[in-house]
Symmetry: none
Subunit: 280 residues, 2 copies
DNA sequence: AGAAATTTAGAATAAATATTCCAAAATCAC
DNA sequence: GTGATTTTGGAATATTTATTCTAAATTTCT
């Protein structure tokens, strides 16, 4: 009874291909559907049959026939294709990991493969979704700062320390507020400076406090955090959001670090103070 | 009867603004919704309440309450907002990355795209070429060590500090040899311990010296480095090689960090001392 | 022009989905 | 600790949306 719809296109590309091949031999109404979809593929993912049919100037039933003509079981089936294609898939690594463990193939190499895939996905997602305007704003602010203050503890600390290394390499004055010796370095914060504050949920109180103090002292803030509900996002300044994919209870840092690299190098370029040495 | 929902945000920007203002004071379940939506605005456009609720790990009714809390009449009302936005940034959205890469201009966003690509390639390359036997050897050595010493300076320092964070989170005794205060911590190195020594060309003398000292004292060495010609590779122990792809004069750290994550989690698993808390 | 085949439109039905409601649980204030 | 208030989860319901069906209209072929 239930046939398989193997005939249906499996990618949007294949879908277009099919239209190109046989679209011209379709009867009038179905042709209208084809033309409309070809011209407005973005609408398919977010509309109902009724809406699309209206826009293509055909009755809904004609649109249904169009979907079936192309090999789909119906409109929903076709829509699934368009919805999947252009939204990133965030696979659930937590369940994959338990599967992995159950299958007994819980080797370090297998784990590495999981982290690798999660890292790539996180990075790709970052590159696609980052807000270019905020990034520009951040770069502009940092490029004209006298001193750049770097704040990030615990999970965020590797990012902060990478930035410290990178700025040092480029000869840009930057201070890593590491909390060593429990010294308060508040007094270093001065108007004309800028701060990159980094924190991910659950947010470290020290980082947030220092960033707030900096804001009060008129220091420009670049907040590198994970969510708009983060306390860092409430500060006035440039906001950069990075969300990483979990692998089990562990979260990658790849995307945050990638952003940090792009940020520091952009600032270096803007300042025109490149020093192209290699690193140690 | 039909009230007006003028209170509801009219743009996605305004929606984020509202989350920033009052998102932090929401009860737990609604907060989960807020965070999920903030991180995945595209999903909202193309999913059902049931799907989103599942992804945000809340019951569907909680998601409904979330929508109403923000001033919408319900989910459909909120979805309309996101669907409009989704349509706008399409199809630029799908091809944005490749466009950025091809355009070759040096905006921060373009630079980010380059770092993103380099990072992904490095990670994929790592996963393909890593020597599983060495990895196993390293994990075995670290799993039975009493204390794990972490050494890495300059560019390698973020990796070392990430490992320190990760081990701490799992309750595994580890010491980060950061060189703070110029203290010599040689005397802490004892038989039965293990060391993860991290260095990339041009190799930092301090790191190499400390690793050699450790070897003399009978500490097991895991060398995380870039090339077989590295001084660290000459030491007796497990050798892990990571080669990163350059972007101009800059080199990513994504692969090294990915390896560090897999390594630390594997050691944690082997020790059976998982603590599945969250991190800060 | 007339018969056969194809295509169409809209009403009827089935399925999926959003929304509401309320008892139970958790949290808060005293 | 006790009572009041808020928050929660799930089942019940309402609404929307997809899908099918059939009679009428159109086209095709001889």
């Amino acid at each position: 009874m239930d046939q398989d719809y193997a005939a249906a296109p499996h990618t949007v590309e294949a879908f277009y291909e099919r239209l190109r091949e046989s679209g011209h031999s379709l009867p009038k109404r179905l042709r209208q559907c084809a033309d409309y979809v070809a011209a407005n593929p973005d609408k398919v993912a977010v509309s109902t049959v009724a809406e699309l049919a209206e826009a293509a100037d055909v009755p809904p039933s004609a649109f249904m026939r169009f979907c079936q003509e192309l090999g789909f079981s119906g409109f929903s089936h076709m829509q699934k294709l368009f919805r999947g294609e252009y939204t990133q898939k965030w696979p659930n690594y937590a369940t994959r990991l338990t599967k992995l463990r159950d299958s007994g193939n819980d080797t370090p190499a297998a784990l590495l493969a999981e982290f690798a895939e999660a890292g790539c996905n996180s990075i790709e997602n970052l590159a696609r979704t980052v807000d270019a305007a905020s990034l520009d704003e951040a770069v502009a602010m940092l490029a004209q700062a006298r001193t750049i203050h770097l704040v990030g503890n615990r999970r965020a600390f590797p990012v902060a320390s990478y930035l410290a290394y990178s700025f040092e390499k480029m000869g840009i004055p930057a201070i890593l507020h590491s909390g060593v010796g429990n010294l308060k370095l508040d007094h270093l914060l001065a108007r004309g400076d800028a701060m990159i504050a980094i924190s991910f949920a659950p947010y470290t109180a020290d980082t947030v406090d220092l960033a707030e103090e900096a804001e009060r002292r008129g220091v420009g803030i670049v907040a590198l955090t994970d969510l708009p509900t983060s306390p860092l996002a409430r500060l006035d300044g440039a906001r950069l959001f990075v969300s990483e994919i979990d692998v089990g209870a562990f979260r990658s840092l790849s995307a945050a670090l990638t952003l940090a690299m792009a940020l520091s190098v952009s600032v270096g370029a803007r300042r025109g103070e490149f020093k192209m040495e290699n690193e140690s």
